[in-house]
């Protein structure tokens, strides 16, 4: 009897469609990617029903972290030719008799990350390496004796009058601290501001009660 010969074939999977799909997905994600901005402290924002998206330019963000540190950030959009950030820092420096070099100002302009640094340590903070910056992030002083937050707000508004105020607070921040920040804002005549929240749909129950 002749032996049945099993055809000796290489099991070959055609990967072309898969590669096609992958390329497509990859292109999509690469184009839509907006990097999550790095944050010095994790913040869990509360939920709300508001559907208004966060503006992405002309904003100053006050971040209140869980450990009661307060951070500040100014973002005037990606294509500002007006160089608001270095101007703000320069003004701040003038107030505290610190002269920032053009390199430092340029560095500050490029890196729009929230900072919680005492202005007196700002030079060291700017010079520090990326992984050593964390030790300077002690929070911006907001006490009445040395209220640097008030000055940051003041100068940000002087340099860019159309700046909007955003507050990003953590769920577990104590209200008195929030109140303090709000008071500072109100002292500087900021009465309208936006709270950053995550979207959560709520079904409104209007039960028929007659």
């Amino acid at each position: 009897m002749p032996k049945i010969k099993i055809p000796h074939k290489t099991p070959h999977v055609d990967m072309t469609p898969m590669v096609d799909l992958f390329s497509l997905l990859l292109t999509f994600f690469m184009l839509t990617a907006t990097m999550k901005p790095s944050e010095p402290a994790p913040v869990d924002t509360p939920f709300s029903i508001s559907e208004k998206p966060t503006p992405d330019k002309n904003i100053m963000t006050i971040t209140i972290a869980k450990d009661n540190r307060v951070f500040f950030n100014v973002d005037n959009g990606p294509d500002t030719i007006l160089h608001f950030r270095p101007k703000i820092l320069e003004e701040m420096g003038k107030r505290y008799n610190i002269v920032f070099t053009p390199q430092e100002l340029r560095y500050f302009e490029k890196n729009t990350v929230p900072f919680g640094v005492n202005i007196k340590e700002f030079k060291a903070y700017l010079a520090a390496k990326e992984n050593e910056k964390a030790k300077f992030e002690k929070g911006i002083p907001i006490d009445s004796t040395d209220n640097q937050m008030a000055l940051w707000i003041l100068f940000s508004r002087q340099v860019n009058p159309s700046v909007q105020t955003l507050i990003k607070g953590d769920n577990d921040v104590d209200y008195p601290l929030v109140k303090k920040v709000l008071d500072i804002l109100q002292d500087k005549n900021v009465n309208r501001f936006s709270l950053i929240t995550s979207l959560q749909k709520v079904e409104v129950v209007e039960e028929a009660k007659k």
Binding site: H8, T10, P11, H12, V13, M15, T16, V19, F22, S23, L25, L26, F29, M30, A33, T34, M35, K36, T45, P46, F47, S48, I49, S50, E51, K52, P53, T54, P55, I64, L166, K168, G169, D170, N171, D172, V173, D174, Y175, P176, L177, V178, K179, L182, Q186, D187, N189, N191, R192, F193, S194, L195, I196, T197, S198, L199, V202, V204, V205, E206
Partner: protein, 222 residues
């Protein structure tokens, strides 16, 4: 995933020119792509955070004499945020002589929302009816003027409660956002975030069962 390449054995015979398969081994490319896709998927911030707008009343300067606005006591509703997400409320005005027991509620759908809804039913119905009319096409209005139309409805309303929101010192930021959110859910026309009174502080402490800490200020603040 990978292509398994088996060596084919040729048994003797004529030596043929080696056949090169035209298929390119795509495995490394696929690997790399998987990696990149994963990376971009994880770093993409899809859900952009939202913002909730809020305006606080202008601060009264120290040497400025401003008459406190007169509001009807019957329409006033005081909400005090307590510790651990507890919500207290009482209607009307606090009486220093007799501490009114506070009503306690919570943030569930049947909690503070129901309290507010009960008082704000007329306005809420008006807004809902207006919205459904717009959806049904009875009222022709542009999307961006819808908000201002609703604002106008709220402005003209004189039945809804005037809500005073206060915070006990151990309240959290979450409560702040939650309660303001609740105002927009229920469609409260007038709400104000103000400082807690010493009377109210005592009322909360009594409700919590802890010793009273606040006392009457020697000079009236406001």
């Amino acid at each position: 995933m990978a292509e398994i390449i088996q060596e084919e054995k040729h048994k003797g015979g004529k030596k043929r020119p080696k056949k090169h398969s035209t298929a390119i081994d795509m495995t490394p490319m696929v690997d790399l792509m998987c990696l990149l896709i994963t990376f971009f998927m994880l770093t993409t911030a899809f859900a952009k955070p939202k913002v909730m707008e809020i305006a606080l009343p202008e601060k009264i300067k120290k040497n400025e004499k401003v008459e406190p606005p007169k509001i009807a006591e019957s329409r006033t509703l005081n909400i005090i945020m307590g510790p651990n997400d507890r919500v207290f409320w009482y209607p009307g005005k606090a009486d220093p002589a007799a501490l009114v027991p506070l009503q306690e509620t919570n943030f569930s759908a049947t909690g503070i929302r129901q309290v507010l809804l009960d008082r704000n039913r007329a306005l809420f119905k008006k807004i809902e009816a207006f919205k459904s009319d717009v959806v049904a096409g009875k009222i022709n209005i542009r999307q961006d003027s819808l908000q201002s139309a609703i604002r106008q409805l709220k402005k003209n309303d004189d039945t809804g409660p005037i809500v005073l929101i206060k915070f006990y010192k151990t309240a959290k930021y979450k409560n702040f956002v939650d309660i303001i959110d609740e105002m927009s859910i229920v469609g409260i026309a007038i709400y104000i975030v103000t400082d807690i009174d010493w009377i109210e502080q005592n009322m909360v402490e009594r409700a919590l069962g802890i010793p009273l800490t606040a006392t009457a200020p020697s000079t009236a603040k406001k």
